[in-house]
Amino acid sequence: MADIHSVIGTKNKKGQTYTDTWKLMNEAPRTPSFFTGSEVIKEALRRASCDVMIAYPITPQSEAAALIGELFAEGYIGDYFRGESEFAVMSQCAGAAFGGARVFTTTAGPGTMRAMENFPMWSGARLPIQMIVTCRGINSPLSIQPDTLEIAYLLNTGMLVWHAETAQDFFDWILKGYMVSEEPDVHLPLALCCDGFFVTHTKDVVNLTPADMCLPPYDPYRSPVPCMDMECPPVRMMRDPFVMKSNYISYATHASWQQEIWAAVERSRKHSIHWLNGLIDTENTDAEIIIVASGTAVSQGREAIRLLEDEGVRCGLVKVKTLRPWPEEEIREATKNAKHIFVPEFNVTGWLAKEIKATISNPERVHAGPRVCGGMTMPPEIIVSEIKTALGMKTFSLAGRGS
């Protein structure tokens, strides 16, 4: 059986040096590069020692998925192909992960929804697959525009769910994500989400680690469940399949298995804190007004805070990095001084605001907005307007409000 520590310092077939991940992420030199989010995904994958990537076209992740194909052609990925639908792709990913591979895929919007049946199965089978979700609209009429509604559906699958704000988050979290996902006491899939187009299609300066250094390979024998490769004894799993039984043992087994998945999500907390330097980032949480956001809404929130400062309104910021594990304690602590909590979101239902309301005391402090959806951008001015209106301050009238 492979021992990952034994390969540190050795080279792979592309001449990259397997490097201790902590050193790679925190100590190795970084080169500023001007890339689109899709190109950044490719560059992260180049360094990820990925065995299998399976692709399917859907806007806005198609470019990233195709670029990883180029990496395969260059010899950086073990195998790569285009599946026939997202449902099939996520099952193909599962098959590869069952077989002990480090697996990567990307999807978006309707693709996430089509594949949905697979995600609780991934968690239940404890497959540490990494899936990039470049969020876009999912409802009818057809939309390809950014909208984060699909994240709401992922929150109860038993997957880890992280929400990247920038391409730099993406680059770092793709690599760090495998480290958290593959811990034996976690061993769960990761949905690494971003807001489509805003992150995937815009160019940004991203500090990249050296291209000749890569992650240590995945060791499937650290999995808490057997790897399906016939390299370890094929034990009879159960005397009678539980699906046949309507009895206490059957229910108790299913119940404890589900509880274990969520316990594993909880156990990912300490690893996520270690790698991401906390589950949230905060600025000025002593302020009476706090914006709590995830994804690109954080950037818009930051800009709104700058505009408000010009008018003498002081406002703090909480950037939620991981949605699962949910930073319950951290958000409670960060918002304890706040009289008003604003939650700008790129979706119609306001799932983040609901999560926050269920977390903190005095949830009437939460103003569940502003919200945009269907591909609308969120000018910082509407966050400013929302805050000023709530504070009883005079604000400019927004087009279409009729006021």
Binding site: D51, V52, I54, G78, D79, F81, G83, E84, S85, F87, A88, V89, S91, Q92, C93, A94, G95, A96, A97, F98, G99, G100, A101, V103, E117, N118, M121, A125, P226, M228, D229, M230, E231, C232, P233, P234, V235, R236, M237, M238, R239, D240, P241, V243, M244
Partner: protein, 302 residues
Amino acid sequence: MSKERIQISEDLYDIMPPDYQDLVKSATYGKEDRGWKDIGTSKELIEQHSLCAGCPESMAFRYILASLPNPEDTVMVGSTGCTSLVFPMVAVHNIHSLFGNQNAIASGLKRALSVRFPGRVKDVVVLAGDGATVDIGLDMTLQAWFRQEKFTTICFDNELYANTGGQESGLMQKGFVAKMAPVGKLFDKVRLPEIARESGCHYVVNCTVSKPSLVEKVIRNAVHIAREIGPTYLQLYTPCILEIGKNSMEGLQEMRDSEKPTERFAYKEYISEPAKQLLAELAAKDKERKAAAKQLAGQASA
């Protein structure tokens, strides 16, 4: 996996379940000419199962597991249905994930095993019912064949959804009255063997499991061809005696009746040219091996 991998530490031997002890003592992992005749003299790779008494599927399972040419390096993929009640008791690694996605799982699995074990044989065999193969999973069944994925697909065709209580399926005969076909099925049995051939399978067989020697032959052929050349497909009639109103003793006769020359499970096979060549080479090697063994035996007795 070599047979050494399943050995039990001496200290733990007495607390291991008897079926595992039997597996270590007398299973046929690694036996070169394993086959259905080992049944009764060696530990089968299937433990007790919870299928109905007399279910032909249970016979099919036993023959197939006895006939896999390389069980020590074979991973099976199942789907939801009666087969998923058996797989937990099978002594080769097997995967159940969802209903209908078996050929997608197998595609990813086979590729992962090829990446991880270059130069080593790792066979993948899918075994699922007709609902999984032809209805809910048809796109993934066909697409795996289009892509020339190198694994075997076995369909246990019982011509209906058995596990959910006998509903109409695509492989049901036209006119059959069943749940969800209250006035009889309105369209023909889907001709998947022909579709398999057109979709790129290199070996396609349509038959019943009435004859264990025949099952052994087609399983060996299908696995060897899938390993070396490309996708293979076996459609095996395993009637659901419960849902067609037969008794436990009548499964075998039902299969014999259905495999007569004019019936829908008359033996049909298709072998592609490269597959024919491979089978000829394997037969020649087999002959050589047997002749050598015979010679050796002759020398030993002389």
